[in-house]
């Protein structure tokens, strides 16, 4: 098999239908870019979940009585609760936060809003036992065990807020993948169409190749390679697009969010670890589409 011959046939094919080639490459790039974006969102969400659930606390808010009168959790009620929590399964650490400490924290959080600070009083904030769970799934049993106990006002799970946030992020991820899938369908159809047109445009050559006894592989290979070239070039464009998107958009718009460590920063390393997947998917799916198109629609 002569590589130079096959190569020149591929180049000829791509050049003859420049508009279709460009369309094919662009739609492939867009769907691979969306796939890459979805994968990056997945990575970010995973990292966020790890980060956040480590910091999340189960909070046992203590009654008004303890909040007002027991600044060191030395009363029997409070220390009993603390001891029971510490020994409960799945509990890592228990920290007591007095009313004053809670108020100091409140002042820190809202230091940029002096009107709010003016209105606030320590009496409005309850003391609490802040529990770090080694296994977030244990919250329901802790809540059940300690709700309604003497000295306990209520038990809340900060993780609940996170779950809502992550549900929303999951929704974003799913939407990205759905759009990627639809775009991918468009890209596949376009690749298939381009190959059919390419085969039609080259029907004289294909006819002569059949006549003179060229192997089926030799006849089909230029078309398959056209599709693979589109897949790979589309993949490269998608990677470039992700980089440009990161630098020009994500880094700028989400700068504050990254700095506050609310969302882990998306780095070049993330993009480069997703890059091989995009190239592989692009090449393989394009080749498969090409092969199926040739089998079903083109007589070679």
């Amino acid at each position: 098999m002569r590589a130079s011959f096959v190569f020149s046939e591929v180049v000829t094919g791509l050049r003859r239908n420049v508009t279709m080639t460009v369309a094919m490459i662009l739609t492939t790039a867009i769907s691979l870019g969306l796939l890459g974006g979805g994968l990056l969102v997945v990575r970010t969400i995973d990292r966020m979940q790890q980060d956040y659930y480590q910091r999340v606390e189960t909070v046992v808010y203590l009654s008004a009585d303890i909040s007002a009168n027991d600044p060191g959790c030395t009363s029997s009620t409070c220390s009993a609760l603390r001891g029971q929590l510490e020994s409960a399964p799945g509990v890592q650490t228990v920290i007591f936060e007095s009313r004053q400490a809670a108020f100091a924290r409140f002042q820190r959080i809202f230091q940029g809003q002096p009107e709010l600070l003016q209105l606030a009083r320590p009496e409005a904030l309850p003391a609490s036992l802040r529990v770090q769970l080694s296994d977030p799934a244990r919250f329901p049993s802790i809540a059940k065990a300690f709700t309604g106990r003497p000295g306990v006002d209520r038990v809340t799970d900060q993780g609940e807020y996170l779950r809502q946030l992550f549900r929303a992020l999951d929704g974003l991820r799913n939407a990205t993948f759905v759009i990627a899938l639809i775009q991918a369908l468009a890209a596949l159809l376009l690749i298939s169409n381009t190959i059919q047109i390419s085969a039609f445009t080259r029907r004289a050559e294909v006819g002569v190749m059949r006549l003179t006894g060229a192997s089926r592989w030799y006849t089909q290979l230029p078309f398959l390679l056209e599709a693979v070239v589109a897949g790979v070039v589309g993949g490269v464009l998608a990677i470039v697009g992700l980089i440009v998107g990161k630098v020009a958009f994500v880094d700028r718009v989400l700068a504050g969010v990254f700095e506050a460590a609310i969302v882990p920063r998306i780095g070049y390393g993330d993009i480069f670890s997703v890059a091989p997947i995009l190239l592989l998917v692009g090449a393989v799916v394009a080749a498969l589409t090409g092969y199926l198109t040739l089998r079903l629609y083109v007589r070679t």
């Binding site: 002569r2 011959f5 004289a204 050559e205 002569v208 006549l211 003179t212 006894g213 060229a214 089926r216």
Partner: protein
């Protein structure tokens, strides 16, 4: 070299079979005409030899290969041994004469040095030395058919099929093409030519196989076209 044994071919869209219980054999190195009116089955027979179609019944042999039973993978090997020229030449318009003939060698993976040696030889055989760089549209009909013959012959096939090769050519040019086919036949290549050109058949006095409505009605070793029935 070519053997058809009780071959029939029916198409779904037609009530009458295109070929009806045809048994005929063409020996190695023979030159035979396949004659008959349009619709008699000439083209169908040639297509069976190339495995463009498969016989509905019977066996088709080319160089001892049972053509109908060949696997998909081995069909190209058959076609490398059978050259074919057509009434419409079927040249590639955007390639030169040299490239058109070389194409037949390139697509079966022949190395460049072989191509550079063999193509000029064949062009000389068909009388086109000096025109290697011309494009098909710059050639006359007769010259284009010579290129087609060169392409069909360059791989030294065992059999050369010709489906109305002089159909688009005038009398004098047709005669030259026939001389060329005879020259090729003299190299040992079996030639089977489908035609309804009375003059050529009559002037060459070779084997004549006449088809009518899909059946062989005449098979003479030194025949003429005769009166069509």
């Amino acid at each position: 070299m070519i053997r058809l044994e009780h071959v029939s071919k029916s198409y779904r869209t037609s009530t009458r079979p295109a070929l009806d219980d045809v048994t005929v054999a063409v020996g190695k190195g023979e030159f035979a005409f396949l004659i008959g009116p349009s619709g008699s089955g000439k083209s169908t027979l040639l297509r069976l030899l190339l495995r463009e179609e498969v016989a509905s019944r019977g066996d088709v042999y080319v160089a001892d290969l049972n053509v109908g039973k060949l696997s998909q993978r081995r069909i190209p090997q058959l076609r490398q041994r059978v050259g074919c020229v057509f009434q419409d030449f079927r040249l590639l318009a955007n390639k030169t004469v040299f490239e058109n003939v070389a194409f037949a060698l390139e697509v079966i993976g022949k190395p460049r040095h072989t191509i550079r040696k063999v193509v000029p030889e064949v062009l000389e055989l068909v009388g086109l030395e000096g025109k290697a760089d011309r494009m098909p549209h710059e050639l006359s009909g007769g010259e284009q058919q010579r290129v087609a013959i060169a392409r069909a012959f360059v791989n030294r096939p065992l059999v050369l099929l010709a489906d109305e090769p002089t159909g688009n050519l005038d009398r004098d040019i047709s005669h030259e093409i026939m001389l060329l086919l005879e020259r090729i036949n003299r190299t040992g290549t079996t030639v089977l030519m489908a035609t309804h050109d009375h003059t050529i058949v009559d002037s060459m006095r070779r084997r004549v196989v006449e088809l009518h409505l899909g059946q062989v009605i005449r098979d003479e070793s030194r025949g003429v076209y005769g009166v069509s029935r």
